[in-house]
Symmetry: D4
Subunit: 226 residues, 8 copies
Amino acid sequence: MHSPTPCIRFDDARDARIGLPEAVFCEGKPLRALKTLLERFAEPQSAPILFTRLAADVFDGMPESLRSAYDYDALSRTAWNRSKPAHAQGRAAIVSAGTADGFVAREVSRTLTYLGWSNERFEDCGVAGLWRIQGQIARINEADVVVVVAGLDAALASVVGGLTSKPIFAVPTSVGYGVAEKGTAALYSMLSSCAPGVAVLNIDNGYGAACAAARVLRAVFERSSC
Amino acid sequence: MHSPTPCIRFDDARDARIGLPEAVFCEGKPLRALKTLLERFAEPQSAPILFTRLAADVFDGMPESLRSAYDYDALSRTAWNRSKPAHAQGRAAIVSAGTADGFVAREVSRTLTYLGWSNERFEDCGVAGLWRIQGQIARINEADVVVVVAGLDAALASVVGGLTSKPIFAVPTSVGYGVAEKGTAALYSMLSSCAPGVAVLNIDNGYGAACAAARVLRAVFERSSC
Amino acid sequence: MHSPTPCIRFDDARDARIGLPEAVFCEGKPLRALKTLLERFAEPQSAPILFTRLAADVFDGMPESLRSAYDYDALSRTAWNRSKPAHAQGRAAIVSAGTADGFVAREVSRTLTYLGWSNERFEDCGVAGLWRIQGQIARINEADVVVVVAGLDAALASVVGGLTSKPIFAVPTSVGYGVAEKGTAALYSMLSSCAPGVAVLNIDNGYGAACAAARVLRAVFERSSC
Amino acid sequence: MHSPTPCIRFDDARDARIGLPEAVFCEGKPLRALKTLLERFAEPQSAPILFTRLAADVFDGMPESLRSAYDYDALSRTAWNRSKPAHAQGRAAIVSAGTADGFVAREVSRTLTYLGWSNERFEDCGVAGLWRIQGQIARINEADVVVVVAGLDAALASVVGGLTSKPIFAVPTSVGYGVAEKGTAALYSMLSSCAPGVAVLNIDNGYGAACAAARVLRAVFERSSC
Amino acid sequence: MHSPTPCIRFDDARDARIGLPEAVFCEGKPLRALKTLLERFAEPQSAPILFTRLAADVFDGMPESLRSAYDYDALSRTAWNRSKPAHAQGRAAIVSAGTADGFVAREVSRTLTYLGWSNERFEDCGVAGLWRIQGQIARINEADVVVVVAGLDAALASVVGGLTSKPIFAVPTSVGYGVAEKGTAALYSMLSSCAPGVAVLNIDNGYGAACAAARVLRAVFERSSC
Amino acid sequence: MHSPTPCIRFDDARDARIGLPEAVFCEGKPLRALKTLLERFAEPQSAPILFTRLAADVFDGMPESLRSAYDYDALSRTAWNRSKPAHAQGRAAIVSAGTADGFVAREVSRTLTYLGWSNERFEDCGVAGLWRIQGQIARINEADVVVVVAGLDAALASVVGGLTSKPIFAVPTSVGYGVAEKGTAALYSMLSSCAPGVAVLNIDNGYGAACAAARVLRAVFERSSC
Amino acid sequence: MHSPTPCIRFDDARDARIGLPEAVFCEGKPLRALKTLLERFAEPQSAPILFTRLAADVFDGMPESLRSAYDYDALSRTAWNRSKPAHAQGRAAIVSAGTADGFVAREVSRTLTYLGWSNERFEDCGVAGLWRIQGQIARINEADVVVVVAGLDAALASVVGGLTSKPIFAVPTSVGYGVAEKGTAALYSMLSSCAPGVAVLNIDNGYGAACAAARVLRAVFERSSC
Amino acid sequence: MHSPTPCIRFDDARDARIGLPEAVFCEGKPLRALKTLLERFAEPQSAPILFTRLAADVFDGMPESLRSAYDYDALSRTAWNRSKPAHAQGRAAIVSAGTADGFVAREVSRTLTYLGWSNERFEDCGVAGLWRIQGQIARINEADVVVVVAGLDAALASVVGGLTSKPIFAVPTSVGYGVAEKGTAALYSMLSSCAPGVAVLNIDNGYGAACAAARVLRAVFERSSC
């Protein structure tokens, strides 16, 4: 019984080309391939790298020598060897509806931190208690870009979209059951938002939302610093 | 070429049994059957009857003598020969998100009026402008039961559900396009509402929401008058 | 490896605002967050709280000192520290189709009991043996509000809806296989009920049905006592 | 601009092989092909033939000489040149829920008549008024095979399935709106019936249900006459 | 921690009413309820009973004293205390496409045997090798009713439907992957069969197909013996 | 009221690059754009071009001078200014299930003719009468590539796939109703074919099947002529 | 026959609150309501307003006096009384795949122009001819934000997403047939884009994409001008 | 407790009839049946056989004597007793988008090798870094047939389809999450490809793609060698 060693063609020029370095999406990749990759980027001179969807039991199964080379977070299932230098300006607000959405909200936060952008989380802002979002909106509007994370009916995206003039990205989560199971209800709700200009990412795609936000932050601050 | 005359078995005892008289859902019924029914209930001694989903072009195609026997409303596509006596107490609030939802909201209103229950409509309360629903909520809470009508993301149901303690029924509408087309997004959103105890009707089923509200109003007022 | 302590923003005013205290939906919440919450409400002075979807293996994994502070039920996966005071009047009937629907029917029952409302269960009333529901209907009609719980074809909702004048809420269950798997057939059937005024909750949402019933019971009895 | 004359390969031996002669499903066939076929079977010596889904405006557009060769029914959209000889024994009961289901119920009836089998229709038996089906069930149980036709929640199939020991076929109809639109809710409900041994046909497939019933009638009566 | 003992309302009169005794569908029922039921019917005087979807690991977990009271089959997941007396005449043919469909085909067979009807299985008749079904069709046509069991494209149902005049029931199986996963492709294909009069059961519903076949066998043989 | 003139960027090098010239898919294109394109290719020196999905009423509305420059076929809704030179060898077999599938089968045929490849149609080969396909299979196997066109259950693809060793492409058609409406059942069935190596095109995509067949014919005959 | 005059609650403060004035979505609104709105904003002193999804036959049916007050475009179905003042800096690139996508691409363009933002369209850039997008990418990268409009497989979004560092919004269109009908394939493809940070709008939602782009342009240029 | 020994009817003549020997799809087959089959083909004189979807834990559970008779590959889950003789000419290119698609790409490769056809894999060619596919396309075009394997948006199929004139088969993979979960997005995208003549297999059906490619290779090389 034998399987070929995975050969992986990295898009090393991606950072130069689109301002976002390649990341490794770990779900579905064979264990052997993941180990090879973790080893490659554990070496001192290697470029910064971000691993996403790296399950805790997979990471915990790696040798201690390898694990110690990474900053790993179990809730968001992310790991990096080192983050990029922090930008002087620019901040993202990450607004989420419930505690169960935390694994996605934290993936947004960790990815932005890795990319060097400051960010702040506003948790438990579900609209069934409107005072929760209303008490935070002034502070949220001080950010340069807003990411809304919600499952179930995802009504939070429409409410926030009607209260901010900032670029806004919405991430449906797979939190829920029945028709909301796997995030379909939240995705449909966000795509149908009655607030204008709310752009949507795939279900649970916190990484993508962070990249979209980073594209905006770069447009605002790299330009104005010219 | 010949077709059989439709023979229709009325559930005449329905009112006595469940407090709601039978109504005629006209969509999909052959023209000949509709005419027969309209004739039957145009006669002076006939019981009160409500026709729903009776399209304007169908109604307009009936002879004037028949049309004059009915109170017809084109927006809600409803007609009745005469409404039931008005109840002394009890009022429903009908809250809708946008102008395009009017055809359903009005079906709720007309059905309640036919059943003898007072009701008030609150239009254009979509949450992209939160002040709209917030400005009306005190008045809405004076009603005994609340019906929310919305298409697209249907976020209004969750927001209202978090602001009222009254029995609340939500009707998704087929207003929208893309993933919201035909009301699927709104239906899923309402069923997944983060506000507790929001009960849902089929898409565009204003008639059903009015019946659900009438069941509640009857429970409240017929009981307390005993 | 580290994860942030969850910070949870409680909607403490919810009971005052909508007559229903906040509950904790446990599915999908990290273990650490659940433990924090169970600890918080185990303290003597804490407000009444209801935990739903709290799996037996999760609850059993908590320390005995914590478990003893709660009334836990494995079938419905609910726990409370203490229930609210029982109301003097008002009763709900909970009608279910088969034994397999019991986990949802019991969630309805437990939630109502927690909220202080009396309730009675009518099990095994599936319409393939019509005598079962017909033998119970008189007793069911003595209740103030009716909840129907069914999976598969959910035909029970339509039959009961045609036999009672009371407010009626229908909960589809995820019981079934093939096209009925996960409750889609039951949900669609209930939303399409030929009986007027049957309002529907999300699949397996026994908690929501209890809240909807409680809104009605409150409307009937808090009003009439004024 | 030119189009080829349709060439059609008839399965003339079908009747001998499976006891059911080929029928012509007209929906989607080009007008020219339909006219050719109608002409072919209008000739005196031609075999018996049944046309299904032959829309009234299509049939009405044919020359009078052609139309007069057929027995056409607008509601069921069926036409035949002549029916097969009537069998001495054997009868089917066709039970339908509402007036709007009539176009399918009549397709069942017309197809059975064409095939020579006696049949009786029981209309307006929807379960929201249980007395309607209960008043007819004794008579229905005198038939040799039962066909149930219903849209919306299709609860009728389960109720009848629990009240008869006869072979039973269920046809969902496209009657309804929202989640019931195009018959999906009815199809799912019938396939999930809690009554054992209810077999289902495609949505609106009255022709297929009649063929299934005819297969059974043939098994019962051709055998016993041996 | 406590859960209520399940109380089960048996439809004992079902056999007298519809010719099919009640069976116990075990999937989704709590372990405690299953044990109670197995105990109840293990007693000497109890009526015949069939358990379906009784997983091997559940049955194996019961005490030996209980297990010995039943005839259990692991592939079909069925158990009975004793079968009904065999009928003198009447035979069903069960035709299946591939080895993986065996768990359903055997559920058909076991249920028919339990009900007292003779039956024969024709395995591995998939149409990608047409000779397989063609070599068996003469023997299949000697049966009184035919059940076709297939997953994937379920093309077997149409081919058999065009080669037999007997009543024919089709059971889609959940065998397959991609668009065929969980049996959707097979279900749609069977419902759309180009062969007339093929009636369809829910996915994997071998029990239902056996009941449908038994209804037909009863109609043929109980009648002719009169 | 004004609209911009459409500017269209032709992929003129496509023929050189992939052996297939660009074609114009007309559905959804504004009338003005279609007219501009028809005018452009009506000129004597213009390259060969194929228009697909060009509805008869659109084509008939063009001026006679334009129409006379094209070979138009109403059934397949295709038009060309001139076809490419015929190849000396190579032939495709196009097998279809029913008359209603003709509009797709003819699109396959017309596209192949336009591309210079000989082809033959085998109509009305549906498997409900197996003799139809069996009587043609020897002749079909003389072709170099096979295209199967079918709606409904699309069982024909599996049967042909098990009877030929030639490359085989399957096109589901939108012919059917209920679960077969719009071709979903046929698409799923073909993708799940139990015959190995059947490759599938989008629903009604006769043009794509012809291109796939042309890719194969080119591989066989351009190579062997080297 | 009478219908109530629509009463519309404008969100007049929306521009001040979120930087985007309210627009009127015309699809599904009754004719009478549209006329009232067009009249209201035709008056000299009225605020700027944008009507979207205003069908040509509806607009053409309005009196000339009303029509002359608006700048109407039939392809995008948009009308405005006057546009907002043009910004000094900031430009959007609108990249589309095929001619049939033009109606959406133009809605993006018209909405941006109305909001005062410069924009440029890049049509016919479908990836089946890669040279088309590669020849334009340098010019596209000079813009401040990119909108990609595509139907069918929507592969263009991923290709552009991998070639630009700018904020990028993707709009699936309803262009296509079979599985691509109504834009589902394009929506799914864009949400699943392998290029990081591509954010998605609802199907055909050109208006929403323009608003998302305007949020970004405002963030870049209103900030940098401070 | 007993289960019948599976009896399997092999289509031994398949190779002679369609040029492809029967293979054994192991998923869903009972363990006992798999063992019987592995034993049967482990004998020295047995014909060549391919097992697909044979999970590593199942294979590893077989006795060493049985395992040693097979060439097993864990990634592709395939095993053969011996491969067919290699053909002198003919080569397939297998192009895949990401590392996670490797399990399908390798099934294509292994199946082709088993069938005796040379093949080469081109991994990690996702279009988010266009240079990856562009650097390989010349070499890919040297093959006789191309197979594209991709999940998520599957944009690779359209890009390759526009760069090669060779017969091309596309296999969507179940790689992805959210709307891409289980391969639906990839399947829809490939079926909607804007490149002409891309034919599609079921999700994860690497075996089918290899068979389709083998049909083409046989057509090209068995013919030209005549």
